[in-house]
């Protein structure tokens, strides 16, 4: 293994198993609470003796159902990797492959309405499996005329699926009418909904659709099972929260006293559920009567039948806010996260002021976003109403004495 072109080569492998019991100490008990009147609608007090005032008799209400079989959650992880540095320290990188299994996950799932109060409980339930790979590769050198460069990039991807759900809890996780989350092999966080097949163009299409409360100019849901009726059997998996892969690229250049660093980061093949469309494409889904985005100026009308935006209406009779592929868009992006340009003041000037080091720089963050043409909101990282990522520019001076 003594080759001139290999400077450093390391193979590594690991295995580990840990437990998690980070939930309340009272998780396994059936619990009650005395609620005289802290909230409006959960009280256990009632004026049984018609006093009208004073302190009424009060009792207990249930807040948790017992589970005496509760136990630890176990995580097991395997990892195999390789680090290398080649060609006189100029080419370097790492490769990693990992697999992580979690079982008996501690969950407090939703419960069926007929259970009434206190239906929630802690249970060991799902098993989850993730596997992924990470790659990093870099090259650094200096050209003959003095330009130094160091370019490194990384790429990683992972795949996730839920391998087991207890029978009683399958209802509180995404499911279609034919398969639950485990049977589908989809990752946790997948969304089930209708598939939108354009808009209804005329009355005949509405009547032929089998869709309840369909309207001309409204969203048309695809009849996936072909039975002429649109109901929960026509829902399918429309959203995958896991991207195909994500990547980063770091470029550092130095020339004489100048330096430039640039960091790009991106995600490819990412689905995004664009909640902003509730306010930009629909007048009456939420806050009817308030100001809306100007995309709806191009909404469908009989004179504008090519539009993909549903016809305006003041009353959401078509119930078009339901989960559907209308809101799922391609959220892939490449962003210039950081760009910094600096100048190191030469030594001969520093000596005069007794400083050891001085650097002036200008730096920018979130300068550029390259996103998919399909995306209708401004930032693929923010399809909801979170505070937007800000672009900033800063100037700096670094001094050393």
């Amino acid at each position: 293994m003594n080759q001139e072109w290999i400077d450093d080569l390391k193979l590594r492998a690991s295995w580990g198993q840990t437990g998690n019991q980070a939930i309340s100490n009272n998780a396994r008990y059936g619990l009650y609470v005395a609620d005289y009147g802290d909230d409006r609608v959960t009280s256990t007090a009632y004026d049984l003796n018609l006093l009208g005032s004073g302190i009424f008799p009060s009792g207990f209400r249930s807040i948790q159902t017992a589970n005496n079989d509760l136990k630890w959650e176990t995580t097991e992880q395997y990892n195999i990797g390789m680090d290398f540095t080649l060609l006189r320290n100029s080419l370097y990188g790492t490769v990693d492959l990992y697999k992580k299994k979690v079982k008996d996950m501690l969950i407090s799932p939703a419960y069926l309405g007929s259970m009434g109060e206190g239906g929630n409980s802690w249970a060991n339930g799902p098993s989850l499996q993730n596997w992924g790979m990470e790659f990093a590769l870099g090259y650094r050198n200096k050209t003959s005329f003095g330009l130094g460069y160091n370019i490194n990039g990384n790429l990683d991807f992972f795949r996730s699926k839920v391998t087991y759900l207890p029978e009683t809890a399958t209802g509180s996780y995404a499911h279609t009418s034919k398969e639950n989350l485990v049977e589908s092999g989809r990752p946790y966080g997948s969304i089930v909904g209708y598939v939108v097949d354009g808009l209804f163009q005329n009355r005949e299409e509405v009547l032929a659709s089998g869709q309840e409360n369909a309207r001309v100019g409204g969203l048309k849901y695809a009849d996936l099972d072909g039975n002429g009726v649109i109901n929960q059997d026509d829902q399918t998996w429309i959203f995958n929260p896991v991207p195909n892969f994500s990547w980063g690229l770091n470029v550092e250049l130095t020339y004489k006293d100048f330096d430039l660093t640039m960091f790009w980061q991106g995600v490819a093949g990412q689905d995004v559920y664009n909640n902003q469309k509730f306010q930009t494409d629909f007048f009456s889904l939420t806050d009817p009567g308030s100001n809306k985005g100007n995309r709806m100026l191009d909404a469908w009308t009989t004179a504008n039948t090519g539009s993909t935006i549903p016809a305006l209406t003041t009353n959401n009779t078509g119930n078009e806010g339901r989960a559907s592929s209308y809101f799922v868009e391609n959220g892939s992006y490449a962003k210039l996260r950081t760009l910094q340009f600096g100048y190191n003041v030469p030594d001969r000037w520093l000596k005069k002021v007794k400083m050891s080091r001085a650097r002036v720089y200008v730096s920018g963050h979130n300068l550029l976003t390259v996103k998919s043409g399909e995306l209708t909101c401004s930032d693929p990282e923010n399809p909801n109403w979170a505070y937007p990522n800000s672009t900033s520019l800063s100037f700096g001076l670094q001094l050393g004495f």
């Binding site: 009272n26 009792g59 007929s114």
Partner: protein, 585 residues
């Protein structure tokens, strides 16, 4: 050294022995720790009295999204009331107003379903506690009475569930003990079987509850159970519920006789008609002899709770700009106002809504009105709830071009008593009647008409009309010159058809805006004809030049489907295949 070795050996053996005995006897005990600072199942379950109190408390734990008095489902869905608010999209109740857009997805239906089952879960827990610990803590007698009370409360919630959704899972204390809720289907029992189970619970309650005088207790009592039994039998007596099998040609005479039997108990009790109709709806007169069973409320200034044990069902129903948090919901229709017209003191059955009319204060004309109009419907120019200093104007309506100018008076107190607001909600401390005496007497009259005992029915109706006639001087003297009401002469009760018409009209006038109108129409099998005719006329409503209620042009009631509300989508979908949906949805 050998001795030391032996001593060590013996010590070691001794320690091991002790260790092993401890392991085999008391290992479990000393590591078993009860949770501290919480009430666990053993502690709560062993106090049945507190569990019963919690079951009562749930009666008042409602919200405008799941009002237990069912005002959107009983009134807004009928020809008595409109939804109200800032517009048709304010809250999710517009589909109930117009019926044509009703699907299983509104969150309000889902919440109502869940909260009624919360009610039932408290009752089931109380039953288990009573069964396991009752005799030890309360004694045999009291345990039996409390069990009867809890069965009453549980059947009260089940009655609402069956009348709303028709297909519901029956969760009793056995299902609760075995945690079988997620395996219990909603189509195991037919509608009639479910109602019989409700009746069985009320029957057990009736047999074991003591009688109670008016204003003596907030607990359930024999007369209340009798009233509920009468109601259950009355609903069953008219038929299956769906119009094809409900109505005059489907009457079950046996059940009608049961109605008379149970309303006899109420008639012979110490409950009775309150002398003034207006008093019934004033907080000062709560728990009067008129109040057979009501959900108790109180104000936060008096009951030491954070927000008050108020009537949260009606929290949006205050008049606009009269209360700082009156959001103007539950507004009477012109059709209802027209129904109060009288000619020679009797209702105008055939042409009541030929002409739109409404009284103006101080300007009497040829049209006279039943006095109960002025107690039920707040109208511009009239004092709001009898107080001249709070006279209503056309400003007191939030969206007159959609919902007109009328407001409901029965569920609000007088303005001079002060605000009860719990920003941004109004927290009225007005009891919600489950049964009042007049309601039960009208049920009795309804059964008597169908059993051809027309004279006694006439007597009841005329007693009620006499009370209405006596209810002018005390509160609505300003409208005395516009009121005219007379008792029915014998000729109106000579044949069944006319008697029935009189009874139905009286029920509408007496119980207007008390949240039961849609259920009455459905029981009689006349919902589709009444409502579809109402939609056609009401869309042309006008008040003083302002047209409103045009949204009714989109309304339509489909018989064979809309008699019952759909099983909520979230419940259907949570465990696929466990529940089936009602016909047509």
């Amino acid at each position: 050294m050998k001795i030391m070795k032996t001593i060590y050996k013996m010590l070691l053996a001794g320690v091991m022995c002790w260790g092993m005995t401890t392991t085999f006897t008391s290992c479990d005990d000393f590591i078993d720790v009860e949770p501290k600072g919480v009430i666990n199942e053993d502690l709560a379950g062993s106090q049945p009295e507190e569990m019963v109190t919690a079951a009562y408390a749930m009666l008042g734990n409602c919200w405008y999204t799941y009002p237990f008095n069912l005002w959107p489902y009983g009134d807004v869905a009928s020809d008595d009331a409109m939804k109200g608010g800032s517009g048709t999209t304010d809250t999710g109740y517009h589909p109930m107003e117009i019926w044509s857009a009703l699907t299983s997805t509104p969150g309000e239906l889902d919440e109502l379903w869940y909260r009624l089952y919360c009610n039932i879960s408290r009752c089931n827990r109380a039953l288990v506690a009573l069964h396991d610990f009752g005799e030890g803590t309360l004694g045999v007698e009291l345990t039996r009475q409390r069990e009867a009370e809890v069965l009453f409360l549980r059947a009260h919630s089940y009655y609402k569930l069956v009348q709303m959704f028709r297909k519901i899972p029956w969760i009793d204390e056995e299902v609760y003990r075995t945690n079988g809720q997620e395996q219990t289907r909603n189509d195991v029992f037919s509608y009639e079987e479910l109602m019989q189970k409700v009746i069985a619970d009320f029957q057990k309650a009736y047999e074991n509850l003591p009688t109670a005088d008016p204003n003596s207790t907030g607990r359930a009592h024999k007369v209340a159970a009798a009233a509920y039994l009468a109601k259950c039998y009355l609903v069953l007596a008219w038929g299956d519920g769906y119009e094809a099998k409900t109505g005059v040609t489907h009457i079950n005479q046996e059940y009608m006789k049961k109605v008379v039997e149970y309303t006899d108990v109420v008639k012979n009790s110490s409950y009775g008609y309150l002398e003034d109709f207006g008093d019934i709806f004033l907080p000062e007169y709560k728990n009067s002899k008129e109040s057979i069973f009501a959900v108790q409320t109180s104000d936060k200034a008096e009951d030491n709770t954070k927000f008050g044990r108020a009537n949260w069902s009606n929290m949006l129903n205050g008049c606009w700009k009269m209360w700082s948090c009156g959001w103007d919901f539950h507004k009477p229709t012109q059709n209802l106002v027209n129904a109060f017209k009288t000619k020679d003191g009797l209702p105008m059955f055939d042409d009541y809504d030929a002409v739109i009319a409404y009284p103006q204060n101080g300007a009497p004309n040829a049209q006279k009105w039943d006095p109960r109009l002025f107690h039920t419907v707040g109208m511009p120019t009239f004092p709001y709830k009898y107080e001249v200093e709070s006279t209503m104007t056309k400003d007191n309506s939030r969206n007159p071009s959609t919902y007109g100018y009328y407001t409901s008076l029965k569920e609000v107190p007088q303005r001079s008593k002060g605000e009860t607001y719990d920003n941004p909600w109004q927290a009225f401390a007005m009891n919600d009647y489950v049964f009042r005496y007049t309601d039960v007497m009208l049920m009795r009259a309804e059964a008597l008409v169908e059993l051809n005992q027309l004279n006694e029915a006439m007597q009841i109706i005329n007693d009620i009309r006499q009370r209405a006639k006596n209810s002018v001087a005390k509160h609505i003297g300003y409208a005395a010159n516009q009121c005219e009401i007379a008792l029915y002469p014998n000729s109106y009760f000579a044949d069944k058809e006319t008697a029935r018409k009189c009874l139905r009209w009286e029920r509408r006038l007496e119980l207007a805006m008390e949240n039961g109108r849609f259920f009455d129409l459905r029981r009689w099998g006349i919902a589709s004809q009444t409502l579809n005719r109402f939609f056609e006329k009401e869309q042309n409503a006008v008040y003083d030049g302002q047209a409103y209620a045009q949204y009714y042009k989109d309304a339509h009631f489909s018989a064979g489907k809309n008699e019952y509300y759909p099983v909520p989508f979230n419940q259907l979908y949570y465990v696929p295949g466990l529940y089936t949906q009602n016909a047509g949805y």
